[in-house]
Amino acid sequence: MSEAILYSADGDTETVLAAPGLRVSRTRPVARFAFRGDAAAAGKAGAAFGASLPMTPLAANQVAARAALWLGPDEWLLLAADEPPAAIAAGIEAALADVPHALVDVSERNLALLVEGERAARLLNTQVFLDLDLAAFPVGMATRTLFAKAEIILWRLGDEAFAVECWRSFAPYIEGLLLEGARGL
């Protein structure tokens, strides 16, 4: 799967849950940035970053080990697994020296879980109220939403694969609810 280039599970110790048709795992650290600015800034940022920042609401653009997720009209989440955050930031800042924008390192703020398998959407729907039918939430769609009482970013990586980005202190709560939801799903 292509997402393995960006998100990779870190061996058995990172498995939160494995059941028939269901697997939830923690991922290796990646670099993350909150990028804010107008379309012009986003255009330059995308060129420097190596994955253009999508202008379509809820879209994500992945190029190899980098991805840009549309979160709002002037807000994107940038993800990269191939270089340390400081180097990536330096590249983008250099290209945007004269353009108003905000680039903030949030690599450590978030953690990501991979939820995969035939029953992945059903498991997520125990706490996510969005319609996860492929027609309504196609592969590549990403959105900020709620997982019970925790804010997450949900990104569909494949027909049966999702990434859940959350703030790190919320991860145990989300994992706990995923484990609970998987029982008797």
């Binding site: 905000a102 903030v104 703020r109 145990p172 029982r183």
Partner: protein, 1001 residues
């Protein structure tokens, strides 16, 4: 003598699988496929409960969820279990243990039945009339008495050990009810590829098809067609079939709540399965196929065990293979009861009489009944029954031009009745759809829809199997077309049998009995009689809403589905106004009772709320720290050593910080990175302080007001670069502050080029405070000069610690001691913490928690937002006018600070308090007065906001907000307490190092 009322053959039960169960401790046997009600009836048990108010013996009235009488408690283990389950819905399983309710000491002999003898006292409005005076009796006598006597069933005493699940779902078409209309709708909707959810509250889908034994559908017996139809739906991946699932709430925007009972019917449930599952469904279109409910007849003693609705008797015979009695009388105003009599007769039952209220019922039906040897009487009304715990005989009367004369007695142990059918409009009504009165049918029917829903089949007033199937198919196709945009002809389904029955009656039946002595029940569960409704009208209740509340009719678990139409008709007659003018009460959620577990789902215990822990949490727990909850965070409260209590631990921690060094986890502080060319201008507008001239590398304490000029939050802000600030907020205020800032940015100042990003969890914060703080961290810092000249108080640097770990190092203090805060990545925070800890230990320092932090800051008079402030406090009130930029043109709250009430004399101001005796510890929140024993209703001068034993001051200290406090320095005031007033002296609110010399060590 087991199952003596079981038929020889037939029914959908599995006779090869006997099932043992207990009712009130007695062992009984039924068959797999039985409900508790059908199994009790098979054992000829009709007496199953006592009524709510009069404790009258009650039997099984219905075969469905509308059952008002047969409420039982089902226990799985001591202390747990569920009260008020309807026996008609409880599926039998091996070992089921059910108990009757509302009786003491036993179902057969119940002391509470004395209420029945006293019934003339308990008329409608009894409580309103009786417990009026003396007023003082209400709290002490009346209410406790009523509370003890009221309530149905026994609430469980043990915590619920079951699990409850939640599922969000979306669909094109949700169909509520899987009777013939619902199944036809599902078949038609699924044909166009719509996503369909079909939910039914029963254990089997099919509704009337499950007992319509004579009918054929598509030239097959009804049950065979049903099997094929369900198989077709089950094979469709776009269709979800939900058994034992009640659509109990219809909310806005086609949001419907379903309650699925997952394991209650299982003898040994899989522990992985939840007991119940809440489905929260967003449906594009809804088809309500809820069927109709047979209406009881209102005649004297119509509540005796053995009195049952006619169609229920037919269901027990056809579906469960149970005869409802040995000798069965039928009283009716509707054709369908003939079908019940004939089916029961065919199943081997004995029908004593069919008493038809009507003068000329359908001749063919009468002929068919008589041909079967059944006595049929027309213009014949039931006027009562004899027998208390079971019908013994039935009294008949002859109707002639409105008056009734006795027409003999019929021996019978069961009376089946039918007053006609009431379309089940509950869900339509919940969706806010209006109802339309149909005088021809004597029924309310669904009117125009408000939401995307339609009713189909008999709940829409369509009768007869063929018509119901056609209406359902049409509704399914229409709903699918509306939802998906794809049109498709409805499925054509040919059916014969299950004909429509005509005839109905509403209201109390005439009789020849002594009206003063007999009671005819309208609402069984709430014990409301026809007389109660009439009395309510006489006493001035003219609206049905008032009558409902005065008599409690329609307030039972069936929400009046059985009783409303009769009550309405009686009220309409008493008021001499047509039914539609009297109105109808609104049906509300939930359709049937829902357990608290289903509503709570997974929100319990550790999963009720997120429990946020810092990267240092594990270390603190390992050190034996006590924790306190601060918003969603767990924070280390204090670190007891060797059996210390909190008081001793905090005293030691306070001394240690002031004498050497203390280590504190400040990771929970909110952090916001404010970035953009207008960042300084933005902060200038949001905070009271000036920001434009703050140089990069400098820190400043920021004070934030709301529009009213009151303190909202505070925190230290660092300038990382010309266009980049690191803002900190209080732990609890972080989300509120970000929302406040974002709100202003988006709505008031969209022109500012500045953006906000929450970085609370990007940085863990290790605070090192005390005279030896620099010594503790110096060996770990790679590339930052810690000398006071290079890094003075209130400045910051970005650099690294421990060989390359990024660090934003702040020199700041919330203790009054020299101090540093190391902002480091959470993934590395534990190792940095432990390295600092090693140094701190060597220096004789300690780790401290939030309690010590509170004491240390109080000794310095530093406020805590939310403790010294309460949402009505201005900067000047807490002596912080210095934080207001005097030359600033504007900031949020600035105009309000000039309001007359905010500049008036007499406002409460922050002061310190010392107790006269030097030992008493004041209580936070205690009131402060001028007199030691003030006269009653003397207003307080103020209140204590913070109070601690201060090791540095060597005595208890307190902060307080007192009217004109700063003008009262040296005054003696009093804090009245239950044990007597404590004398205090007003002092400045700084108890340690007023010059601040210790900050610059």
């Amino acid at each position: 003598m087991t199952q003596i009322r079981r038929t020889r053959s037939g029914g959908r039960i599995d006779r090869s699988q006997p099932v043992r169960f207990t009712f009130d401790g007695r062992e009984l046997t039924g068959f797999a496929g039985d409900t508790l009600a059908s199994a009790l009836l098979a054992n000829d048990e009709h007496l199953v409960g006592r009524s709510f108010k009069y404790h009258r013996p009650r039997g099984i009235l219905t075969a469905g969820s509308e059952e008002p009488n047969a409420l039982v408690g089902v226990t799985r283990s001591p202390g747990s279990g569920t009260p008020n389950l309807r026996a008609t819905q409880v599926e039998l399983h091996e070992g089921l243990s059910a108990r009757s309710q509302n009786r003491f000491p036993s179902l057969g002999f119940d002391i509470g039945a004395v209420n029945d003898l006293l019934s003339p006292l308990f008329v409608a409005g009894f409580y309103y009339k009786t417990f009026m005076w003396p007023k003082s009796f209400w709290n002490r006598v009346y209410e406790p008495f009523i509370r003890a006597a009221a309530g149905l069933g026994v609430a469980p005493t043990a915590p619920d050990r079951d699990r409850y699940a939640n599922r969000y779902a979306h669909c094109d078409v949700l169909i509520a009810g899987a009777g013939p209309a619902g199944i036809a709708a599902a078949l038609s909707a699924a044909e166009v590829g719509a996503r369909v959810i079909l939910a039914d509250e029963q254990a089997e889908m099919g509704g009337a098809l499950l007992h319509e034994t004579g009918a054929t559908v598509e030239r097959q017996p009804a049950d065979r067609w049903l099997e094929a139809a369900l198989a077709e739906l089950a094979a469709n991946p776009r269709v979800t079939l939900l058994l034992r699932t009640t659509a109990f709430g219809y909310f806005n925007h086609n949001y419907i709540a379903l309650g699925e009972r997952v394991t209650d019917h299982l003898a040994v449930p899989d522990p992985d399965l939840p007991r119940e599952r809440l489905w929260q469904v967003r449906a594009r279109q809804v088809v309500i196929a809820a069927g109709s409910i047979e209406r009881p007849l209102v005649f004297p003693e119509n509540d005796r065990p053995g009195v049952m609705l006619a169609e229920a008797g037919r269901i027990y015979a056809n579906r469960y293979g149970v005869l409802p009695g040995r000798s069965i009388a039928v009283a009716t105003a509707c054709d369908t009861a003939y079908r019940a009599a004939l089916d029961i007769h065919a199943a081997g039952g004995s029908i004593a009489v069919i008493a038809d209220l009507r003068e000329r019922p359908d001749e063919a039906l009468v002929a068919e009944a008589r041909a079967a040897g059944i006595r049929v009487e027309t213009s014949c009304v039931v006027t009562g029954v004899l027998g208390r715990k079971r019908v013994r005989s039935v009294l008949l009367g002859r109707l002639r031009s409105g008056s009734v004369t006795a027409a003999g007695t019929v021996n019978a142990d069961c009376l089946l009745m039918s007053g006609g059918w009431t379309p089940n409009v509950s869900l339509h009504s919940q969706s806010r759809g209006k109802l339309v009165w149909d005088a021809e049918r004597g029924a309310y029917l669904p009117g125009a829809a408000v939401q995307a829903e339609r009713s189909a089949g008999s709940c829409a007033g369509v009768d007869g199997l063929a018509a119901v199937l056609a209406d359902g198919a049409h509704a399914g196709a229409e709903a699918a077309r509306e939802a998906t945009g794809t049109a498709h002809a409805p499925r054509q389904i040919v059916a014969e049998g299950g004909e429509a029955g005509i005839g109905w009656v509403l209201g109390a039946l005439p009789h020849d009995r002594d009206a003063a002595r007999v009671r005819a029940f309208v609402d069984y569960q709430n014990d409301v009689t026809a007389k109660d409704v009439k009395l309510a009208v006489r006493e001035g209740m003219h609206s049905i809403e008032h009558i409902k509340r005065y008599t409690t009719t329609g307030m039972a678990t069936d929400q009046g589905r059985l009783s409303n139409m009769n009550a309405l008709s009686i009220a309409s007659t008493a008021l001499n106004r047509p039914v539609p003018e009297v109105g109808l009460t609104t049906f509300r959620q939930p359709y049937t009772p829902v357990s608290f577990g289903t509503l709570a789902t997974t929100s319990r215990g550790d999963l009720f709320d997120p429990v946020r822990k810092t990267p240092i949490h594990g270390w603190a727990a390992g050190q034996g720290a006590a924790f306190e909850d601060v918003s969603l965070w767990k924070r280390a409260w204090y670190f007891p050593r060797g059996g210390e209590d909190m008081h001793r631990a905090v005293e030691r921690e306070c001394r240690t910080v002031r004498e050497s060094v203390g280590l504190f986890d400040a990771s929970t502080l909110g952090k916001i990175e404010v970035v953009g060319p207008d960042a300084a201008e933005f902060l200038n507008r949001i905070y009271t302080n000036p920001w434009l001239k703050l140089g990069p590398g400098r820190l400043r304490y920021g004070l934030m007001l709301n529009e009213a000029g009151f303190i909202m939050d505070d925190g230290v802000v660092g300038r990382l670069a010309e266009d980049r600030f690191h803002v900190t907020t209080t732990t609890g205020g972080a989300p509120r502050v970000l929302a406040h800032m974002e709100d202003y940015l988006q709505t008031e100042w969209p022109d500012l080029k500045v953006w906000l990003t929450s970085t609370t969890e990007q940085w863990a914060v290790i605070a090192v405070q005390g005279p030896k703080a620099r010594e503790a961290i110096a060996p770990l810092v790679d590339d930052i000069d810690l000398a006071t000249e290079a890094l003075p108080h209130m400045s910051m640097r970005e650099g690294h610690v421990m060989g390359g770990i990024p660090c934003r190092l702040f020199r700041m203090s919330f203790t009054g001691e020299a101090g540093y805060e190391l902002n480091v990545p959470p993934s590395r925070a534990r190792e940095v913490w432990e390295a600092v800890w090693a140094n701190v230990e060597k220096l004789g320092g300690c780790a401290y928690g939030t309690e010590t932090m509170h004491v240390l800051r109080a000794e310095k008079g530093y406020i805590i937002v939310g403790q010294e402030t309460d949402g009505t406090v201005t900067p000047d009130d807490v002596g912080m006018s210095w934080a207001i930029g005097k030359k600033k043109r504007d900031f949020v709250g600035m105009r309000s600070l000039a309001r007359p009430d905010l500049v008036a004399e007499g406002r409460k101001q922050l002061v310190g308090l010392l107790t006269r005796d030097g030992t008493a510890l004041l209580e936070e929140g205690a009131q402060i007065t001028r007199e030691a024993v003030p006269a009653l209703k003397t207003p307080a001068l103020g209140h204590v906001t913070s109070s601690y034993v201060s090791p540095a001051a060597g005595r208890p200290i307190a902060l307080a907000m007192i009217a004109d406090g700063r003008a009262r320095m040296g005054e003696t005031l009093h804090v009245p307490m239950p044990e007597g007033a404590i004398t205090v002296e007003v002092v400045p609110p700084v108890f340690v190092d007023p010059e601040g010399a210790r900050l610059n060590v």
